[in-house]
């Protein structure tokens, strides 16, 4: 049994090494001076320098990019959550014509790649002067994440016990009251999963961001770093310092909310 276990540990350690190596390289390199990196690409830094972080933060608008990403993620998640809660409640708990069709179509939309929708929206937005506006991009993001939200919430709402609704109805509660006071409080775990997956999707997206938010002042973090890494192409430690700053928020959130991230992204695997 012993050698068997040693082999398993070796395999896992190799997997861990692979999973971490880009992050380790990123952090170690960010701490080296430009001169040191030319002869020491792999090892620990001989002298630790923090100048790159300072240069990145003062030389490039990382905080502005992050603020834009936060605005978009928060806006899109808020819009989508409200719309999806209302829709999913009706699909799960009300009888109406076209209910099955609406749910099937909405679920099927999860499998349509976002790039397919881009051309007409871009043409329309150009005409309506919605390019480089928060509202315009928020609507697109909210739409793209909504099929998954509806799917998840509908399946979850259906698992809530029927008696709960009947009891509330007998007490004379209306639909909106039931949704806000009974269904939503009971669905907080599902909602939290949803917020994590959807916010991460918007935060990490590149294609919508570079097409619909072309103005410098509206650039998101992902669009920002793609410009940043091109501009400082040969200053590798500086670039890596930028990447450390860019990845810090998500790494901190991941460490704090591991379970929600793992659970959520597993559920959202279709995206």
């Amino acid at each position: 049994m012993k050698p068997d276990n040693a082999l398993k540990h070796a395999i896992l350690l190799f997997a861990v090494f692979l999973a971490l190596v880009p992050s380790v390289f990123m952090v170690l390199t960010a701490l080296k001076s430009e001169e040191e990196y030319t002869f020491n690409k792999v090892g620990l830094p001989h002298t630790v320098v923090f100048d790159h972080f300072e240069n990145v933060l003062f030389g490039s608008p990382f905080f502005a990019w992050m603020a834009n990403s936060v605005i978009l993620a928060a806006g899109a998640v808020a819009v989508s959550t409200v719309v999806s809660c209302l829709g999913a409640y009706a699909i799960a708990r009300m009888e109406f014509k076209g209910r099955g069709l609406l749910f099937s179509v909405s679920t099927a939309l999860m499998a349509i790649p976002p790039v397919v929708m881009i051309v007409p929206l871009f043409v329309l937005y150009t005409q309506l002067h919605l390019i480089s506006t928060y509202e315009g991009a928020i609507i697109i993001y909210a739409g793209l994440i909504t099929p998954f939200s509806v799917y998840l919430l509908t399946t979850f709402f259906r698992t809530l016990p029927r008696e709960l609704f009947e009891a509330a109805r007998i007490d004379g509660a209306g639909d909106l009251y039931i949704l806000l006071r009974i269904v939503i409080p009971l669905s907080l775990p599902a909602l939290l999963t949803l917020v994590v997956v959807n916010a991460l999707y918007v935060w990490n997206d590149l294609i919508i961001a570079i097409i619909f938010l072309q103005d410098d002042s509206k650039r998101t973090l992902m669009a920002g770093i793609s410009v940043f890494q091109g501009r400082y192409d040969n200053q590798i430690p500086l670039t890596m310092a930028g990447m450390v700053i860019a990845s810090a928020p998500m790494i901190i959130l991941y460490i704090a909310f591991q379970r929600h991230f793992i659970q959520g992204l597993m559920t959202g695997a279709v995206k």
Binding site: F96, L102, V115, V116, L121, I139, A142, W203, M243
Partner: protein, 295 residues
Amino acid sequence: MNQSSRLTPYLYVLPLVILLSFVFGYPLVRIFEFSFKQVRGINGPWIGLGNYRLILSQDLFWESVRHNLLLLLAVPVMVAWSLLIAIVLYERIKGWRLYRVVLFAPYILAIPIIAAVMKKMFQFSGPVNEVLRWLGMDFLALDWIGSSDVALWTVMLFIIWRESALGIILFLARLLSLDESLIEAARLDGASWWQRVWHVLVPQMKGVIEFYVVVSVITMLSSVFSYVYIMGGGRGGPGTSTMVLELYIFSALIKLSLPGIASAVSVLLFLVSLILIVPLFAVRRRANEEEVASS
């Protein structure tokens, strides 16, 4: 039931219908229309199949298709690797929870950030090649990013690296829901590790493996933009060696201002994803049934 309560459900789904119609419905109708027109700015004359004829006769289009198809080669590697790691983790080695958090990390980190990091790591004079030379494997010290023969394979490595994290977590979750008595019985019968894996574990994971394969195929054909955008310098470079369909649509729309051409490619990509929806729904149902059957 009175008048208002019959209308209530429709009021609840109205915002949903409006949002989906705007973001999905409108564009899906319009790409078909645009694909038959020579669009300049916001509209243009009807030209029949002109756009399709143009793209189908263009080498760059076929090269993009070929690259998306080549990326499918990553799928079996991802399945094998994820399966191996998930099974080893499942054998409850001490600290598997911590392993799980670490091994899932690649899936959390934003693709553009890691792309920028990998681009530096795999430079010809970068650390990867330095280590390879140090290990005496000079023949492997390729120009990973700069050579048009190698660049797509480097992107593929990057995709495998990240997407395997999802496979590991999905497979591990399925394994943890299995009935342990079966595995225990096989162990008592003197089945070797391979026999246990091949005849006991893998058959019970068929559903989740199929699901992962279909999701990954969809990714390779239609969701690799973030992977190639930074790695290929925004142009699918070097040359056109990392050009994929999404980037083709992007360039036609933004760089060349040819919405008609971009729409024709969008239509083709849409039809491919329509075809893939059928197996996706089938495997998702089967994976769910498998889950229910075992619990």
